[in-house]
Symmetry: C2
Subunit: 551 residues, 2 copies
């Protein structure tokens, strides 16, 4: 006996058709470099995405061709998200904060044929050097400035994005896009490459749709048509965590900040467009909190404005402070390889009666996987570790939106177990209710005297100290203990930090042997392209810290 259900594919085309048909007037707002706002509707978005698809096909795009992007968050980037896969192509979001060398490697590895780029980002392209590795460069115009000769001159590869849309708009009514399979690729994104060269992850229609369903659930981000979403997380970071797709699925209004990610610009935008949910890394929220703290009545924010925090752990102090400012942190965890939603930390009904400190502890965990993400913890010897909130091990995950390999079959087989689970590289504990907590990255653990110390736990505690602006804790080689933790600290403006006082502060929270062996005082902590601390750099700088210590 067979099931009698229709064979109906899960594709992003459906999301666009649905939004244009059911929510034709709902807006997609884009902030331009001059801070003016471009307003489109979902009906516009569908029309323009279809025109882009048809324009690309007319221009020669073949099934499977890659179209790279160097763009901020805005409507044109969304049109690429939908239009390129509709044409059978694959968009490839380039991280504009990477070095030209890394970008060059990635473009070559992906075999990108076309590039779509914001005109304000053209200076980046100039740094590539040599002949441009693209057949054609489509420029999204935001400013009246002339395009460089290299693009527009004799043999120049430049073309106007808007002209492509216009060309595709001819005879668009009733045009049928090519058939697609739900397992067809739609886009790709490279990992940050902290452990070797960046590696390509290729997302499918199916993975994106299932991820959107899981993300919108009440116990995940609770996204609905009543929401106005502002993704601060760049669209070149794991598809802005998939949020442009999820918001389109549910018909939520979208507000894209363009290049303006400074706290005051974001707060202006939140207030003006009545944003109800935003998403970004802790660094962004640090700036927001500082500014709202200094100007508590300046911005009329939506009550309970939800702030999705990911990319790095949200410390308890951040969750607490944002609560007091009337914002609600939703703490989530994920990776490029997990599309990215891997877990969300939300209070369960029976936890609502707990004291506030207990609730903060729960919310600062990385939380519970959504439906169809499966987790297990495995120790050094490959044995599964109990979910008791105490025992640590490597987090391994699997599910329909988890990567099973990298593009090009690159040699990274240690990233997957023999039985098909993805090895996250995070060392975690899991409690009996399936709430996961990252204690460290495998490579960032401090192994002192044969015992693990969590640098993340120390960092979070230090960042809760009233005079500390930022803190990073790294493992430094030690003649006696193999490794010992050293804390790099940045004082808040006008404050000074005293080592003994910091140690006394930490001693209330940790075992003696966990306490940092020393403190390096800095003006700032070096960060990588994605805003994460460059711990590797710090470890190199501090490698000699104990060189003269007694064994």
């Amino acid at each position: 006996m067979h099931a009698t259900m229709m064979n109906f594919p899960l594709t992003t085309n459906h999301l666009l058709d649905r939004a244009a048909q059911l929510f034709p007037e709902v807006e997609v707002v884009s902030q331009a470099p001059d801070k003016s706002l471009r307003r489109h509707t979902y009906a516009d978005l569908r029309r323009r995405s279809r025109a882009l698809a048809k324009g690309l096909l007319d221009a020669g795009l073949q099934k499977g061709d890659r179209v790279a992007t160097l763009m901020w968050n805005h409507h044109a980037h969304m049109e690429v998200y939908f239009g390129v896969p509709m044409a059978g192509g694959i968009y490839h979001t380039l991280n504009l904060r990477l070095s030209p060398e890394d970008l060059g490697h990635i473009v070559q590895d992906a075999g990108d044929r076309y590039l779509v780029i914001d005109d304000v980002l053209l200076p980046l392209l100039a740094k590539f050097g040599g002949e441009l590795p693209f057949e054609k460069v489509f420029v999204v115009r935001w400013t009246p400035a002339e395009l460089p000769d290299t693009l527009t001159g004799e043999g120049g590869k430049g073309a106007d994005f808007e002209s492509l849309i216009e060309a595709g708009s001819a005879e668009l009514d009733g045009w049928q896009s090519p058939p697609v399979d739900e397992n067809d690729p739609i886009g790709m994104c490279y990992t940050s490459g902290t452990t070797g060269r960046p590696k390509g992850v290729v997302y499918s229609h199916r993975a994106t749709i299932l991820h959107s369903f899981a993300s919108a659930l009440p116990d995940s981000l609770n996204l609905s048509i009543s929401d106005c979403l502002c993704p601060v997380v760049p669209m070149f970071h794991v598809n802005a965590w998939g949020l442009p797709f999820t918001a389109t699925m549910v018909g939520a209004k979208q507000v894209h900040p363009g290049p303006h990610l400074a706290p005051d610009a974001l707060l202006d935008l939140y207030a003006k467009e009545k944003v109800t949910v935003s998403a970004g890394v802790p660094t962004i929220w640090m700036g927001i909190m500082k500014l709202v703290g200094a100007n508590p009545d300046k911005w009329a924010l939506q009550p309970g404005l939800r702030m999705v925090v990911g990319g790095s752990a949200a410390p308890e102090s951040m969750i607490d402070t944002m609560d007091q400012m009337g914002m609600t942190v939703i703490h989530a965890w994920g990776m490029t390889e997990t599309t990215p939603l891997g877990s969300v930390s939300r209070l369960r009904p029976h936890q609502l009666e707990l004291p506030k400190e207990e609730q903060l502890k729960i919310r600062a965990r990385q939380g519970t996987p959504p439906p169809f993400v499966e987790m297990r913890i495995v120790d050094d010897e490959g044995r599964e570790v109990a979910w008791d909130g105490v025992h640590m091990g490597e987090l391994q995950v699997r599910g329909p939106w988890i990567a099973g390999s990298y593009h090009g079959g690159v040699d990274a087989q240690d990233k997957w177990t023999e039985d098909g689970w993805f090895r996250t590289g995070d060392v975690v504990t899991m409690n009996a209710e399936g709430s996961m907590q990252i204690t460290d990255r495998t490579k960032d653990l401090v192994k002192s005297g044969g015992e693990w110390i969590s640098s993340v736990a120390l960092e979070n505690a230090l960042m809760g100290h009233p005079d500390v602006a930022e803190a990073a804790v790294v493992a430094v080689p030690h003649p006696k203990w193999s490794e010992r933790p050293v804390a790099v600290v940045v004082a808040k403006e006008g404050k000074t930090l005293d080592d003994a006082a910091l140690t006394a502060y930490l001693a209330e929270r940790f075992e003696r042997w966990w306490l940092p062996e020393g403190y390096a005082h800095r003006e700032q902590i070096p960060r990588g392209a994605t805003g994460k601390f460059l711990k590797r750099t710090l470890r190199q700088e501090l490698a000699g810290w104990f060189a003269n210590a007694e064994g």
Copy 2:
């Protein structure tokens, strides 16, 4: 280039594993016939479902075997929902309100091998007559009464459900259920068969999972771990609208009413178990409203208790009255062939400022399809009708949880268009925002208390009466049952028709609740150009038939 995502199937096994791992202590409560409550947890549910699967396999279940159920809503029915597909079998929910003839036909058509039955429903089995069409009958014991000799005597087919679970429990730890494909069938349900014999719809793992995602969304039923769900809709009606699966996916507490569907029993249960969301047909809510209206302070219900109304249209007055009683109607539409969620009517943000009467009008529409249900309206000549809220046409739907055929390839090809859309048989309008409203039905059906009555079957029987010249049966709005059948009859020349005699005549052929509520005697029945009865005209003429009837 290929997508690099894992190939991970969408199966109900995952839902069970997830619930037991992440929400092990959350309860599944079942009301027994004596109104005592059996309490299980999701951890119990998984253990027992796995034991059932293993027990069935040990007992000889083969891949694809059908296991029929004659059961109320409770944990054992859920164990069959999960355990039978886990073993590779297909559960088949029998509607215990059907006639023995229809049940016999359906059991034969489905080729059911086993039956699981509540002991309190054994009298139904006795009506089957002849040899039982099952190889084995597993009885769920709720009462201490002895089982009938026919089951337990020499050659009896009876066995104890609990013994099956016990047998499967041996060496269950680490037992791996057989691999399943997401397109494998899991369960089947027959349509009411208004236009011919009942037809089987076979649900797959994939359809059920996608339906669960769509149902739980904030803009659908908004189901979360904070909920306590009580499905009043029987588990033999389209899987209780899929709610036992959806609730398991999100880890919501479940409370099953067993055989006690009377308003006072339900209200007692809601209050005792702190139910936050319930689901059923309008007839159920009529009774609830009447009782709460008469005893406004008797039951301490959860604030904003959501009442999912489906199966028949929720009239504005019902939505309004329940609002005033502190309950919130969620009006939904669907069919056996749509798993069933096809649309939900909820207010959009910009509609929240409308006057109450306008809001009620919107909420009384059938509403908007969830993601991945596609709708179109087609007129008599096969042309698509504009979404203008005025023009009518037949509603056609498609999507991954919409039936594409019936079991056994029965001849019902007029139910699908050549381009693969399912023809619902409902005549609807759609407004510019994609909110659907049913105005009529192409086939004339009577929906009484959530169950279908075939007017055609009644007409045919009446016209077989020696004194009847013509008969038409139409659905007339009824305050309690939503609709009841009224028969329009024309006597043969020289004859007179007596209502009681007609009823007695029909009572030999139909269940009591099918019998017409009244008879309108006419000289002739109005006919259209093609000679068909003008049922719409009759419905209009008879609309006030029950205006003075008690609810």
